[in-house]
């Protein structure tokens, strides 16, 4: 619900800006559905001037997968999950009037949720001396990372922002610069001591802030 409120507020700001725009300029509007490395999403595009458009929308990528993460020398299975939800306000600037297929894109995204988790579970039948340990006794290790917050976006756009007629497709290539991540390691069972590795993990992950975006947008003008 909070996400919806923020989205509506962004739309309101955009419309407020629209109301001040000059009345003799054509202001195309389009609805955009997109899919890419930040998941799926939707946006509302508004042409402010001939060379400048703004869009506001949201994207979401809830993903779960198994066995994408391995630690050498340690037989294990892994469960990876990622939840990235953002709302964004971007500006599309076409610097060359004759080259409307090329755009500079910049703006801000607010990552309402930006969490990654890797759960590593030993996969062997672990023996402790002559004892075979249960799964509960062995436990697991969780590596958690959280990038929640505001992230600037910079990128390039290819193909025009708005369809000539009703429908077109264009592409975004850029990157978000995410907030400094909070990270920790939590272990259970005989692996509970791995929380002591949190500082090292934080140090390793602190520069993981560039979230590359490759996105295909499907636009419908109305």
């Amino acid at each position: 619900m909070k996400l919806l409120h923020i989205f509506i507020f962004c739309c309101f700001l955009q419309y407020a800006y629209i109301s001040k725009a000059q009345s003799d300029v054509v202001h195309p509007m389009a609805i955009q559905l997109n899919v890419g490395t930040q998941g799926i999403g939707a946006a509302f595009n508004y042409g402010v001037t001939k060379g400048l458009a703004v869009r506001t929308g949201f994207n979401a990528i809830p993903i779960k997968a198994n066995d994408v993460f391995k630690i050498s020398g340690f037989n294990s299975t892994s469960h990876v999950s990622a939840d990235f939800y953002n709302i964004h306000l971007l500006a599309d600037y076409t610097p060359f009037e004759q080259q409307s297929w090329f755009r500079l894109v910049g703006g801000l995204g607010y990552f309402v949720k930006a969490k990654g988790n890797v759960r590593i579970i030993p996969s062997d039948d672990y023996k402790y001396g002559d004892l075979t340990l249960t799964e509960e006794q062995i436990g697991y290790v969780d590596l958690n990372v959280d990038w929640q917050g505001i992230a600037p976006y910079l990128g390039l756009g290819f193909l025009p922002s708005f369809p000539k007629n009703k429908f077109n497709v264009n592409v975004d290539l850029g990157t978000y610069y995410l907030p400094k991540p909070d990270a920790n390691i939590v272990g259970t069972g005989i692996l509970s001591g791995n929380s002591s590795q949190t500082d090292q993990f934080r140090s390793n992950i602190k520069d993981y802030r560039w979230l590359p975006i490759l996105q295909v947008n499907f636009n419908y003008k109305f």
Partner: protein, 242 residues
């Protein structure tokens, strides 16, 4: 499935940076599988010295099947007169049902001795001194005075696996100590819980040898005491077999 994996990598772990998220991260393994333990210290009753090298221990009688060496091995043997035994991790004593077992110490030239050890819900760790006497010796056992007390010193032990540099052991075992450069017997220092022990038996300015007996092996490390806290690394090869 491959497409899904690729998507995950691009989306999350594809976050661009130099370095690897798991670089220099070690796998930390605890040894507190056996929760109810007893450190058995066998000495010559008349001299106080550790039991002779040929001394052996056997767990007999009721509940013997549920008794393991602290490393989880069924093979229980004395090392310099010491061994830690404990209950199978699935067995838990209660206040109504404490669990008693019997150990028998035998050594060539000594009178065999049996001692009952009772595990209760209230006491997870205990020390069991057993003095054995030479055959025919009727002299009273020597009384060893308690060690002097000093200020608290905290020791944090990390177990090292020589063959697995990516693994660290966080030991939960009993520790013994003696002054370095002496031939005196190792004395009981205390139980380290998840690698940590705080003790008041160490004098400032003295250098000590610390010993743990685990998996039928003895491991030692030395440290001069000048501060109130130390991080010590000790080889624990017997804890690395997984």
């Amino acid at each position: 499935m491959k497409a899904m994996r690729l998507g995950v990598w691009i989306s999350i772990l594809g976050l661009i940076s130099c370095g690897k998220p798991t670089e220099d991260i070690k796998i930390v393994v605890d040894t507190d599988i056996i929760k109810y333990t007893a450190l058995i210290q066998v000495t010559d009753a008349q001299t106080g010295n550790p039991a002779p090298a040929n001394a052996s221990i056997a767990v007999v009688g009721e509940n013997a099947a549920n008794i393991y060496e602290i490393s989880g091995k069924k093979d229980i043997k004395l090392v310099q007169g010491m061994v830690t035994i404990g209950l199978h991790p699935n067995i838990t004593p209660t206040s109504q049902n404490p669990i008693t077992t019997t150990v028998e110490i035998t050594a060539s030239g000594y009178t065999a001795q049996r001692k009952n050890i009772t595990f209760t819900s209230a006491v997870r760790q205990q020390t069991v001194p057993i003095g054995i006497s030479r055959v025919g010796n009727t002299a009273p056992p020597i009384v060893i005075p308690p060690p002097p007390v000093y200020q608290d010193v905290s020791l944090n032990f990390t177990g090292r696996c020589p063959n697995r540099p990516d693994v660290e052991i966080r030991p939960s075992v009993y520790v013994s100590f003696r002054k370095a450069g002496t031939n005196e017997s190792f004395k009981y220092l205390g139980y380290m819980d998840k690698g940590n022990i705080t003790t008041n038996l160490l004098a400032v300015g003295e250098t000590y040898n610390f010993q743990i007996v685990y998996g039928g092996e003895s491991y030692t490390v030395s440290q001069k005491i000048d501060q109130t806290s130390y991080n010590l690394t000790i080889d624990m090869t017997a804890a690395c077999n997984f």
